[in-house]
């Protein structure tokens, strides 16, 4: 393997890993806030891609107008999602009910998208392009790096930094964390847990939707984008339960491994990720990093 191939595969893997990491971070945020795993995480990403596609391709808005509108939409959808799939079920008689409801939501989102926009995938132009509309590629020596990947890496790092800062430094973040750790006590202290949960869902949807916009040029806007969540799940398990840093690192590992495995076993891409997962389950079932609130999951 030449160095240039190695570098381009590595960057490719890292950028995909960053997408998984953003999804995985959203998963962890939800697990911490409401104690459930969201099986519609990938479909939230898909919805994000479709909304951006609608704003960008159908309404032809420029990027700087499109993005604020998209974010408002994402926040709204996140809150609607919370009030339909989580809120009526928070006192369900068994805990699997909420998870199964998110699965139902995943089917609903996929089908709704198919009914509204048709089942054929739509092409999305890359953010930075050449004059002829093809995605721009950066050449460093012999290494070719698509600029889209670098943008994904940059945006991903900014988002992760912002979310970590929100939870560790800001007062609002501390309120949210308190409500996560003990909703009852937080309610007694006057923290409205419904608002913090709403905020968490909105943030998660914004993160997922942005991911959708970022991956759309590569995978096209299609209803099967939701399958990306499987790798994010694997990354979260590898990284450890309940810790954001762990999930991010686990997901990056998954992305890189997946990217290198395409070189050797193109048909069995999923298998390598899963084998990695099994190795981790056997050797280190608690994951790489131990979470703050491990028991909730």
């Amino acid at each position: 393997m030449t160095l240039s191939l190695f570098v381009s595969l590595f960057v490719d893997g890292l950028s995909m890993g960053m997408i998984y990491a953003l999804l995985g971070m959203g998963l962890i945020l939800l697990v911490r806030a409401v104690g459930i795993l969201n099986f519609a995480q990938g479909d939230l990403l898909m919805i994000g891609a479709y909304i951006c596609g609608c704003l960008f391709l159908d309404l032809k808005l420029p990027l700087w107008i499109m993005f604020p509108i998209a974010i408002v939409w994402f926040a709204l959808i996140g809150i609607i999602f919370m009030f339909t799939v989580y809120w009526p079920l928070r006192k369900a008689s068994y805990s699997q009910a909420t998870i199964i409801a998110t699965m139902g939501a995943s089917i609903v989102l996929q089908e709704a998208v198919k009914l509204i926009w048709g089942s054929s995938p739509r092409a999305m132009p890359a953010i930075v392009q050449n004059a002829n509309g093809s995605p721009k590629i950066l050449n460093v020596g012999q290494v070719t790096l698509p600029i889209q990947y670098l943008i994904i890496l940059g945006v991903g790092m900014v988002i992760i930094y912002l979310v970590l800062k929100l939870f560790e430094k800001l007062y609002v973040g501390k309120l949210m964390q308190a409500a996560c750790q003990d909703a009852y006590a937080a309610n007694l202290l006057g923290i409205p847990s419904i608002l913090t949960i709403c905020a968490t869902y909105a943030i998660v949807m914004i993160v997922c939707g942005t991911c959708g916009y970022l991956v759309a040029p590569q995978f096209m806007i299609r209803s099967t984008l939701g399958t990306l969540q499987l790798r994010a799940f694997a990354g979260v398990v590898i990284g450890g339960f309940g810790s954001i840093t762990g999930a991010v690192i686990g997901c990056l590992i998954v992305g890189v491994v997946e990217s290198f495995s395409t070189l050797f076993l193109s048909g069995y891409k999923d298998v390598t990720v899963f084998l990695l997962l099994i190795i981790f389950l056997v050797l280190k079932p608690t994951g790489l990093f131990k979470g703050k609130i491990g028991d909730k999951a």
Binding site: Q96, T98, M103, G104, I107, L115, L230, F274, L281
Partner: protein, 341 residues
């Protein structure tokens, strides 16, 4: 006291009796209703999927762990049948013989996978089973020597039972019905054994179960194995019925269907799985007009089911029964109080 004894005796007497009656009634109803081969096929499919719904009921209803692995084990069962009966290994076994091979194969594989995956708990276990389904699908779709790749394996010979060749769905139906009811009885029996009770204790309160000396991990592994074998039997029968096995019969998307079957009827009861499988399989045929929206309706109905009746149809039935009983009891106690006055 005497009344209670009488009731028990009655139950022992009426239990098998009502079962046989209801099976016969079901048989006759299907015989009368199913005028075409197609409708008979739909009912047969429902019976086969019922086995998979049982497996969900064992894992989720008894043990409290949500597993999607059923589809992967269905695939294992179906491809075992396909390989053994079409002579791809250089020898041929009759389909029934191959069916007997499926059971130990599935037991072994499910046990090993259960040992690995059940190191995870709760939702993390659930999505590791999704990963399993995805990997199994990748293998089914790509590995030609065992699974036939994209084309699948066709040409599974028709089954011969008691010297009779089961060439169409009418002939299949009675055997399938008897088998499914039999497996249902076995599952119902498991519920009332020590194993079933330890599974229930793992579901309700793991810590308490551990304190009482239940090996939670092993109990869950055994439950996973049982549910794997049930699914594998379902998959094997599926491939024997349509005489073909291919990867796209066993995708992750189809696993949602089996889950709904079990949830709809009531995940805590065996009869619920049976009823749910029938309804979920037959309803789309009745409401063919809405075919375009069917997936959407499924999704919405899952959410509504979870919100309004998480215990399913049998749960509602049970609740109504309980309410009636308590009302009756209330009346009796009122009468007794009056008598005491």
């Amino acid at each position: 006291m005497a009344e209670k004894k009488l009731e028990l005796k009655n139950k022992r007497f009426t239990g098998p009796f009502t079962l046989i009656i209801s099976v016969v009634v079901f048989y006759l109803v299907v015989k009368i209703m199913c005028r075409s081969l197609y409708s008979q096929m739909v009912v047969n499919m429902a019976l086969v999927f019922c086995l998979v719904a049982y497996s969900v009921s064992v894992m989720l209803g008894m043990c409290g762990e949500l597993s999607f692995a059923g589809v992967a084990f269905m695939g294992i069962g179906a491809f075992t049948i396909a390989n053994l009966t079409t002579g791809r290994f250089g020898f041929k076994i009759s389909p029934l013989g191959a069916f007997l091979v499926v059971i130990p194969v599935a037991t072994f594989i499910a046990f090993i996978i259960g040992l690995i995956l059940l190191r995870l708990k709760g939702t993390f276990f659930s999505f590791s089973t999704i990963a399993l389904v995805q990997v199994a699908y990748t293998f089914f779709n790509n590995y030609r020597p065992l699974f036939g790749g994209v084309d699948g394996i066709s040409g599974i010979p028709s089954v011969r039972i008691l010297g009779k060749q089961l060439t169409n769905h009418y002939l299949w139906f009675p055997y399938l019905l008897v088998f499914v009811v039999f497996v249902g009885l076995v599952v119902e029996h498991i519920r009332n054994t020590q194993l079933g009770r330890s599974m229930a204790s793992c579901r309700d309160n793991e810590t308490a179960a551990r304190v009482l000396g239940v090996n939670v991990y092993m109990t869950k592994v055994i439950a996973f194995t049982i549910s794997g074998v049930l699914s594998a039997m379902g998959g094997a029968l599926y491939s024997m019925l349509i005489r073909y096995a291919s990867a796209d019969m066993f995708t992750y998307d189809t696993s949602a269907k089996y889950l709904i079957m079990a949830m709809f009827g009531g995940v805590q009861s065996t009869i619920g799985a049976f009823i749910g499988a029938l309804i979920v399989q037959i309803l789309p045929q009745v409401l063919k007009v809405f075919q375009r929206y069917f997936q959407l309706i499924w999704g919405v109905s899952i959410i509504l089911l979870m919100v309004f009746m998480p215990e399913g149809l049998t749960g509602i039935f049970r609740m109504a029964l309980k309410r009636r009983k308590s009302r009756k009891k209330g009346r009796i106690s009122v009468i007794q109080e009056k008598g005491e006055e």
